[in-house]
Symmetry: C2
Subunit: 335 residues, 2 copies
């Protein structure tokens, strides 16, 4: 019997060559607002529909990514992207303008990190030197598609989350930089029977716990080996369940644990349990967290991106919600 | 300036360890029907809704894949899957029962081949030894979601295609077998301005031509170097446009060219221009084509899977349809 390890150690070093973020007005006025590259003053971003607004936002994030390093898209070997719109059309429409070989991905709100892991493996396998990844979400598009149009002003329970309007782009590659992606772990799909789309934190927490426990066990590390362990979008209620599940396995995470969906908004912002969406983890990590790493306030960070793999259709069919959590480790190089 | 080659040569050999296919009644009674592992006698596959029927069909294909080799799912290192349902929920619900690390993919009808290329890179990069890939489509689910429920009996033009009800699964890995995946080429997204979802063959043909021309140019090969060049689902109208586009570049494909969407159905079956859908290329290649290769009637086959990256929403917005085509080469080993 072969001892199968799930943690991937990137043998060819994979660096964060560049990153770009663009968000909506609510995210821009939150506590992390100053850390994003661009804040759109309106949800429509000057467009006529939510999907085109989301596309514009992602293109803005990609433009920052490319222009900071004066790169052109012919520098890139591969584009990996996914989003929450049906058939991931925002990403496909962006790919149309990039003229770069394209992999479409879907891992719900964990898409940003699925993309990073696939990019890392591509770089390791010799198939690419520079890979652009993008993911996004938009509250207008998501509410309309998964629930009701926002104009309907639907009332929701406290455990419901607010979709982050934001897009994150990253270029991973072989050019040395200050931040390195050293390890990755693809999650298994876990479904403990929750079928309420207003309880996504509770639905996703077991997947996040499974991924963290697998990671710690395989690498023989403890939570204190990281400056920060960060879940993607469990929000307040889901984070508590995540910590409780870990305690049941004798693992305590507290001071060095946070959640992107909790960090994104201030306590004065009406966001129910906190943020969610494929843009949540992407903007918080590629924006705020990388800023903190560059400023040497964080050196080693474990990201556990969480995704709920449901649709409006499966909710109407009362199907339970399969969830996933993918993990990567980012490390600051040097002092 | 570095000469960037897009064709990926898999340095670590990647073999087709096993494959499984399951289709609906119309596909089963077509000219390739005898080559599929399982034919469901009804479109609902004994279930109550189209999505659950599609899930059952894909699980059947996976079961054949695993049982032919007496494999268990703990043999697998990775599961890669995608389908046409919103948020790819059929694939996610299957992943829930597999307990294998999961990558969600989306490349519309080209998903089967996107999966193969990602799996190949994963095996090359040392991240996995055995990768299960699956993709599927179902006419009931697709018509309801992209157009109108089939009960509505919508009239369509001759260029419209019939969604294949079928699922294909494949295990790619390091165990030597008769069929090897030797090369891959990820497509760029191309959109020449067609916004009519009943003209998908015409929309996708330029992407297929771009991928084939890039492949031939980079590898300095000619169409006659293959026993068969096979597009995924251009169907009759799209195939003619594909051949015309190639002729404009001085490339002639004729005797050794075919299209999965054309091959799937007999001329007596009412399917308009032919088959389409993520299950089309997957079942024809993993079923019929691999059978022909094992029987030594085909030795070297170039598959160009085609995908139209639109949604019901983008169609209603009159947006043009971005299209993609991914290519792989399968070769029979030995005599």
């Amino acid at each position: 019997m072969v001892n199968k390890k799930r943690v991937i150690q990137f043998k060819t070093p994979v660096y964060v060559e560049e990153r770009g973020t663009a968000v909506g007005p609510k995210e821009g006025s939150g506590p992390l607002g100053h850390g994003f590259d661009y804040v759109f003053p309106s949800l429509l971003c000057g467009e006529k529909d939510w999907q085109t607004a989301e596309k514009k936002m992602t293109e803005k994030a990609i433009t920052y990514c490319l222009h900071k390093q004066r790169l052109k898209d012919n520098h890139l070997d591969l584009f990996i992207a996914g989003d929450l719109t049906n058939q991931s059309t925002v990403s496909s429409q962006i790919a149309r303008n990039l003229h770069v070989p394209f992999i479409g991905s879907y891992s719900a709100c964990a898409t940003a990190i699925e993309n990073c892991i696939v990019a890392g493996m591509w770089i390791n396998g010799g198939g690419a030197r520079h890979v652009l990844c993008a993911s996004s979400s938009h509250i207008g598009g998501c509410e309309k598609q998964f629930r009701f149009p926002i104009e309907f002003a639907q009332q929701k329970p406290d455990t419901a989350q607010t979709t982050v309007t934001g897009a994150g782009a990253i270029i991973l590659g072989r050019h040395q930089s200050m931040i390195q992606m050293t390890e990755g772990l693809l999650g298994k799909v876990i479904d403990l029977g929750i079928n309420n789309p207003y309880e996504l934190g509770a639905a996703m927490a077991p997947a996040a716990a499974d991924t963290l426990l697998t990671y710690l066990q395989e690498t023989e590390q403890k939570p204190s080996d990281f400056d920060l362990i960060l879940t993607g979008d469990l929000a307040r209620s889901g984070s508590e369940i995540f910590k409780k599940l870990l305690r049941e396995h004798g693992v305590i995470v507290s001071e060095n644990y946070d959640d992107c969906g909790v960090m994104m908004y201030g306590t004065n912002q009406q966001v129910l349990a906190g943020g969610s969406g494929a843009g949540c983890c992407a903007t918080v990590v590629f924006g705020h967290i990388f800023n903190e790493m560059l400023a040497n306030r964080l050196k080693r960070v474990l990201i556990i991106a969480t995704g709920a793999l449901h649709s409006a259709n499966t909710v109407q069919q009362h199907k339970t919600i399969p969830c996933i959590a993918h993990a990567v480790v980012f490390e600051r190089r040097g002092n």
